[in-house]
């Protein structure tokens, strides 16, 4: 049938010439109303740009969060001792009393014995003190740790090395600085080989380790809560026990405080990553039974990761809604302009119908125009939207991640919006009575 081969959609698809001609016609009429078309496309431009930019920034934020959580070790369960919040009142009343809290040897023993599938339990202790290097000093956390510590916490040594088992046995006077402390005490030269003093004791620096990720709640027992780049000085666990014993004395607000904390932190490694959460539950049970006070806390990086993913999902939903709204607004703008254009060109539609244009020809003519309008707006929006994250990472130092599908998605959605909002004006144009259209002034 000749009618089938003459079907305008088939014709457009089969013949690039006709497509080119229809597009040229659409572009011409867009160009005829430059300012109007530009302002209309602007709605789409901003819609698409905001989607692309927000996706990139959102992906960047969640990427950063996930990286930090991963650093904590996804197979780990981290136990931390927390100074109970009601204890400050107790110390004021009974000044001589020694405040005892936190993770105990008994806890660790029970966990090792009753929770299956646990490979290593690595405890550590920490004390707040002042680290000296020559005339320079810095308030630091002095952390007693085991050789396995960097591996357990996914932390890289930037210089030198960590302790050996031998140094633990020997209770050696060696230390490893974190980046923050190293840069404070040795701003100009390499710290390795130098000496750091804490109180009366000197420690030889054997390495520098990278700072802890911000997701680790760090020095929780102290009122001067540390931030992510707080100074840390690592010494062998055994050395710390030697120097400080089991009870720490501190002078604070006009009175002595005595605290006894066996372990400030213990890292439990679970063999199978899938079992981390169930094992964490078991550990929680043991600790809940052993501790009357709320003097401990458990951090499960896998759970944090899952939370971060959930947050990202919510973020995506919010983002999607904003994107949908902005694109709907853009689409309404297009529809508005196309309705005006249809009214303006009523006469032309009448002429075309009189000369043999079918309804579908007219629909296509207007639809191509809206698709061009939204398509060009979409391209400009993608360009703008790719520029914003680049500028944001450059000037604000925020990580942004541009997923390759994001601009493609935003662009396709803008074109689909063009079609969705262009259909009605186009159909209205096509369904006009030719006689009345011809009479239109």
């Amino acid at each position: 049938m000749p009618f089938l081969s003459h079907h305008p959609i088939l014709r457009l698809i089969l013949s690039p010439q006709h497509l080119g001609r229809s597009m040229a016609m659409g572009l011409k009429s867009i160009w005829l109303h430059r300012l109007r078309s530009f302002l209309t496309a602007l709605g789409v431009v901003f819609g698409v740009a905001s989607v692309v930019a927000m996706l990139a920034i959102g992906e960047g934020a969640s990427h950063e969060a996930q990286e930090q959580i991963r650093k904590l070790g996804s197979q780990n369960i981290i136990l931390q001792s927390v100074k109970p919040s009601d204890s400050s009142g107790a110390t004021n009343e009974t000044r001589s009393m020694i405040l005892e809290y936190g993770i105990t040897t008994r806890d660790i023993q029970q966990i090792k014995q009753t929770v299956p599938g646990i490979s290593i339990v690595v405890p550590s202790r920490q004390i707040a003190d002042v680290a000296w290097a020559g005339q320079k000093k810095e308030d630091s956390q002095i952390i007693g740790a085991l050789p396995i510590y960097p591996q357990m916490r996914n932390r890289t040594l930037l210089q030198g090395r960590f302790f050996t088992d031998l140094e633990i046995e020997d209770r050696a006077a060696v230390c490893v600085l974190n980046e923050a402390l190293a840069s404070k005490l040795f701003p100009l030269n390499t710290p390795t080989g130098k000496a750091v003093r804490v109180q009366r004791h000197y420690y030889k620096v054997i390495g520098v380790i990278e700072d802890e990720s911000s997701f680790s709640p760090g020095d929780t027992g102290k009122s001067s809560a540390s931030n992510d780049s707080s100074a840390q000085l690592y010494i062998p666990f055994s050395t710390l026990m030697d120097q400080y014993g089991e009870t720490f004395f501190r002078y604070r607000s006009g009175s002595f405080e005595a605290e006894k904390v066996e372990f400030h932190e213990a890292v439990i490694r679970v063999g199978d990553i899938k079992e981390v959460e169930t094992r964490a539950e078991a550990v929680r049970h043991i600790l809940e039974r052993n501790h009357k006070k709320n003097d401990w806390r458990m951090v499960v990086p896998v759970e944090l990761l899952r939370q971060a993913e959930r947050t990202k999902q919510i973020f995506s939903i919010v983002l999607g809604s904003i994107a949908a709204i902005s694109l709907i607004v853009g689409g309404i703008g297009i529809m508005n302009i196309m309705l005006a254009s249809v009214t303006e060109r009523t006469r032309e539609i009448g002429i075309r119908r009189a000369l043999g244009a079918r309804q579908v020809d007219i629909v296509l003519q207007f639809l191509i125009e809206t698709v061009l309008l939204s398509g060009v707006g979409g391209i400009l929006g993608v360009v703008l939207g790719l520029g914003i994250p680049v500028a944001v990472s450059h000037f604000a130092g925020v990580t942004t991640v541009i997923k390759p599908w994001a601009p493609i998605l935003a662009f396709s959605v803008s074109v689909i919006t063009g079609i969705a909002f262009g259909i009605y004006p186009a159909r209205r144009a096509a369904s006009m009575n030719p006689v009345e259209a011809l009479r239109h002034e």
Binding site: R11, R352, A354, L355, G356, R358, P434, L438
Partner: protein, 249 residues
């Protein structure tokens, strides 16, 4: 025009089928409680090669009749056969295709598309017929030359005089070699000189064998056409062959 089937001016031929056949065509408009009866039973046949003039006082329904003949408007009742085909049986697409290939329109106000050049305007019916770009261009150029506009092919309608615009419209109406050309007061907007030029062009077309249906107030046409149909209040008041037709017969 190439391939014109009819010979000379022997317009009326008993043996041939009519191109247009109207049977009791009525058209009325409903406006609230009132019904305006514009056409009240028009019956007529138009044979190939005829040069028909439809005349009558303003408001008698001439344009309404021509719009029905052109497939732009549907009658309230009656049968309209175009080239042996019942127009009422066609769907919208087929009717559009019939307008495209079987009918050529010429309007009082030219009705050219302002954004398009002379050649592009002439190409519009060819485009809707489904012709390739490469085929369209030579046809449009030949038609532009035929109406004497070879030097204005790339101009826009606003850059042309009224007479020139109407000649573009004639070229456009001829593009698909229609069965019949319909013109509604084609000279109505023109001064007598360019009006006469246009009428000369129509005479020429008729001599080539084209069937023409004209709506006009212009009594000069009486000299040129072969048949005059006078309408009055929606009826055919008179239907006469002119001297020219009788002479040719």
């Amino acid at each position: 025009m190439a391939g014109a089937p009819q010979s000379g001016t022997s317009a009326v031929s008993r043996a041939v089928e009519p191109i247009i056949s109207l049977q009791d065509i009525r058209k009325s408009y409903q406006q609230g409680e009132f019904t305006t009866h514009v056409l009240q039973g028009v019956t007529l046949d138009i044979m190939p090669g005829e040069y028909v003039c439809i005349m009558g006082p303003s408001g008698c329904g001439k344009s309404t009749l021509l719009n029905i003949l052109g497939g732009l408007d549907q009658p309230t009742s009656g049968v309209y056969m175009l080239g042996g085909q019942d127009i009422a049986q066609l769907n919208d697409d087929e009717l559009s295709q019939a307008r495209c290939t079987k009918l050529g329109f010429i309007f009082q106000s030219y009705n050219l598309i302002q954004q398009l050049s002379v050649l592009e305007n002439i190409e519009v019916p060819l485009y809707y017929k489904g012709m390739k770009d490469s085929e369209m261009r030579p046809i449009a150029e030949r038609l532009a030359a035929k109406v004497g506009l070879s030097h204005r092919m790339h101009h826009k309608p606003t850059e042309l005089s009224g007479g020139q615009q109407q000649r573009v419209a004639i070229a456009r109406a001829l593009a698909n070699e229609p069965l019949v050309i319909l013109a509604d007061e084609a000279t109505g907007n023109l001064d007598s000189k360019s009006g006469n030029e246009i009428l000369d062009a129509f005479d020429h077309l008729n001599r080539e064998g084209k069937t023409l249906v004209f709506v006009t107030h212009d009594e000069r046409m009486v000299e040129r056409c072969s048949r005059i149909i006078r309408l009055k209040d929606g009826f055919v008041d008179s239907d006469t062959r002119t001297k020219r037709a009788l002479m040719a017969a």
